[in-house]
Amino acid sequence: MKKELTIFDKPENVKKVRIVLYVSCAILFICDLFIHKHGHFAWEEWIGFFSIYGFVCCVGLVVAAKHILRTLVKREEDYYD
């Protein structure tokens, strides 16, 4: 039997992944200051537009799905049986 992977069983490895994510996010955000973005709309050139829009969208998406959609449409698994 092949040895199984346990890399993410250690909390410090998971923490490393998270740190990589945070650092990448920070670098990408700072990129806006140096790289001129050219889009079709004015707001595409605002600093941090895509970062903030992406974050807000995802939080909004999950909150809406959890609190609005789920309360409306969730049923027991045997609902149709």
Partner: protein, 640 residues
């Protein structure tokens, strides 16, 4: 020049040979069919071929142009990959329906007229239903039944539209239709059912997760993409498609977030991705149509890869719900990597296939200044990363350790996933081969996906979506996976059909019972009773009336009348002959004859005069006819 045949024929006829083969020959044959089909396809020159005259219509079995070719190529490619993925399966029905179905999809793709298009369209329904039935579970039977009902209904819309269109224009050529006239609207809706438009989309997340493991991979490639193809051919630039597509791109991601069955999550994200393509069709510029074709191409690959990785999980563990899975990276690392490549592609990470095709559509929406649509598409891009890019791999392979210890799937499945994963990266890194086969290659050649601005903005969007996911998980806001189902628009026909059946079973059935009693039992019995001796029956009836009246008016002797009725009923029908002396019979017969005579004569009373007129006119026309014949005879004589 190699002798070629219509592309659909190789698959459809080839399918019927499958049950007769065994063992290695069969496996080789199955893998060879798509390869043969592909060689055949690249040898068919651009243009129309195999034109058959049928009932005064010209059926064009094959019309090859750049748009149909893109879809033809990818359909062959994915058929090969799906068969390789399924080559260990011992179920002829699955193979047969996979080839019959994908062959019909090729038939639709290359159909040059509406009649053959319709025939292949319906054959696709048959093939796809068989792929769902092949799972052989109670749930899959029910889902297949609902699936076929929806698609047959859609097919009827299409058929009605084609008939009206052909009647109005006299042409059955399949080309640009546009929305003008009832016929084209009906065809539009018929296509829309297969394209999983909002509200008529529920068949997709309902049925795909119930199909067989490989069946879902095959299904994910053809039905919606042929619909995208026919819409791109017949309705490019139809504005409403932009909005339909934008809604398709947005609403399924909400469902995907709360859905537990991971293959159902992928079904929702399939609708979301097809939404991008539909937007591209609606914008209708050369850039956006290129985007639609390119996105269909790369989408088929990464969607198949995702379905294959989830299929492997289902195959090895027997489980597919997010609540039951987790920690599988420990024992299925390769599958996990393939899944993440598919996830990165669908999310549109730079260097993966989704990036180089989706950005064309988003750019086209920007060029057209559709800013609301643009916002919706960017939202959908972030959302798809959230549920397909993160949720699928995270809940299957990471998250909490479910305790499941398994192995990698069979080698053929791994190879199939490996090839697809390679293609996803290859297209992402080096998109130019794909760009060169798009409908408008000059426009595609000018499109540069990898500009600093493109890459940075896309990465910002994705990384901050990932950050949002991390934040939501750590703070506990992220909704837990739950064992539950989520209602969708199929509720209307699943519950509606039950309500309909209740109405049929209860009020309608009772009504029909009553009607049966009255018309088949009560009335004939009374008539039979009455006709045994009408006179005596009439006497009983009149006595009953007398009884009723005497009771009501408080007259004397109702008891006597009652006794008489009882006596009459007892001896009924009695001796009929005794009461009918010959004399009175003759009187009756005479009377009836007189009535008949009156009935016969009365309607003719007034029209006597006109009858004579009719006679006159008949005579006159006969004379006229005769003289005409004489004239003719005379002229014939002179000719002679």
């Amino acid at each position: 020049m190699i002798k070629t045949v219509p592309p659909a024929l190789i698959f459809i006829l080839g399918a019927f040979l499958i049950p007769f083969l065994r063992g290695k020959v069969k496996s080789a044959y199955l893998l060879l069919l798509p390869v043969l089909g592909f060689i055949n396809l690249i040898n068919i020159p651009i243009g129309t071929h195999w034109v058959i005259n049928f009932l005064d219509f010209n059926l064009v079995l094959v019309k090859v142009d750049r748009l149909s070719l893109v879809f033809g190529y990818i359909f062959h490619l994915i058929a090969f990959i799906a068969i390789l993925y399924a080559i260990h399966v011992k179920n002829d029905i699955e193979y047969w329906s996979a080839f019959f179905y994908s062959g019909s999809a090729l038939g639709v793709t290359f159909a040059g007229d509406l009649i053959s298009l319709f025939c292949f369209w319906e054959m696709m329904t048959i093939g796809s239903v068989c792929l769902i039935l092949a799972r052989k579970t109670k749930k899959s039977y029910a889902a297949a039944f609902r699936y076929s009902l929806i698609h047959v209904t859609g097919g009827l819309f299409l058929l009605a539209g084609i008939i009206i269109y052909a009647n109005n224009t006299g042409s059955i050529e399949f080309g640009y239709l546009g929305l003008n006239g009832l016929g084209t609207y009906l065809i539009f809706i018929g296509f829309g059912v297969n394209c999983a438009w909002p509200i008529i989309h529920a068949w997709l997340p309902d049925a795909y997760p119930e199909a067989t493991i490989a069946g879902t991979v095959v299904l994910s490639a053809f039905t919606t993409k042929t619909a995208v193809y026919v819409l791109a051919r017949a309705y490019p630039g139809v504005e409403i498609l932009i909005w339909i597509g934008a809604i398709m791109a947005v609403f399924p991601i909400f469902y995907a977030v709360i859905e537990n069955d991971l293959r159902r999550v992928l079904s929702y994200s399939l609708i979301n991705q097809v939404g991008f393509m539909v937007v591209g069709i609606g914008i209708g510029t050369e850039m956006s149509l290129n985007g639609t074709a390119a996105h269909a191409f790369s989408h088929i690959l990464y969607k198949a890869l995702l379905f294959m990785s989830m299929g492997s999980v289902l195959h090895m563990t027997g489980k597919i719900n997010g609540t039951d899975l987790g920690g599988l990276y420990k024992t299925m690392p390769l599958t996990a990597v393939f899944c993440m490549i598919g996830a990165a592609s669908i999310s549109g990470f730079p260097l993966f296939s989704g990036f180089i095709s989706k950005s064309m559509i988003i750019t086209a929406s920007g060029e057209g200044s559709y800013y609301i649509v643009w916002f919706m598409l960017i939202f959908a891009s972030a959302g798809v990363f959230h549920h397909s890019g993160i949720k699928i791999p995270y809940f299957a392979f990471f998250a909490h350790d479910s305790g499941i210890r398994t192995k990698e799937p069979p080698l053929n499945m791994l190879i199939a996933m490996g090839i697809t994963a390679f293609l996803c990266i290859f297209i992402g890194v080096y998109p130019y081969p794909l760009y060169s086969i798009l409908p408008y290659p000059e426009v595609a050649a000018e499109f540069v996906p990898y500009t600093a601005s493109h890459v940075i903005t896309q990465l910002q969007l994705l990384f901050f979506s990932g950050l949002a996911f991390t934040y939501l998980m750590l703070s506990g806001i992220y909704p837990k996976e739950m064992r539950a189902i989520n209602l969708d628009s199929d509720w209307f026909y699943r519950k509606g059909a039950r309500a309909f059946m209740w109405v049929v079973d209860n009020p309608l059935a009772q009504l029909s019972n009553q009607m049966e009693k009255i018309f088949l039992d009560y009335i004939p019995r009374s008539l039979a009773w009455f006709s045994r001796n009408p006179l005596a029956a009439g006497k009983i009836a009149s006595d009953n009336i007398i009884l009723y009246l005497s009771k009501m008016l408080n007259l004397a002797h109702p008891e006597q009348v009652k006794k008489r009725i009882n006596r009459e009923k007892k001896i009924y029908p009695g001796d009929i002959i005794k009461h009918w002396p010959i004399g009175s019979t003759v009187v009756w017969v005479t009377l009836f004859l007189l009535v008949y005579l009156l009935i016969y004569l009365l309607p003719h009373w007034d029209s006597n005069g006109s009858q004579g007129g009719h006679l006159k006119s008949v005579t006159a026309s006969a004379i006229a006819h005769q003289s005409q014949a004489d004239d003719q005879f005379d002229t014939e004589l002179t000719d002679f």
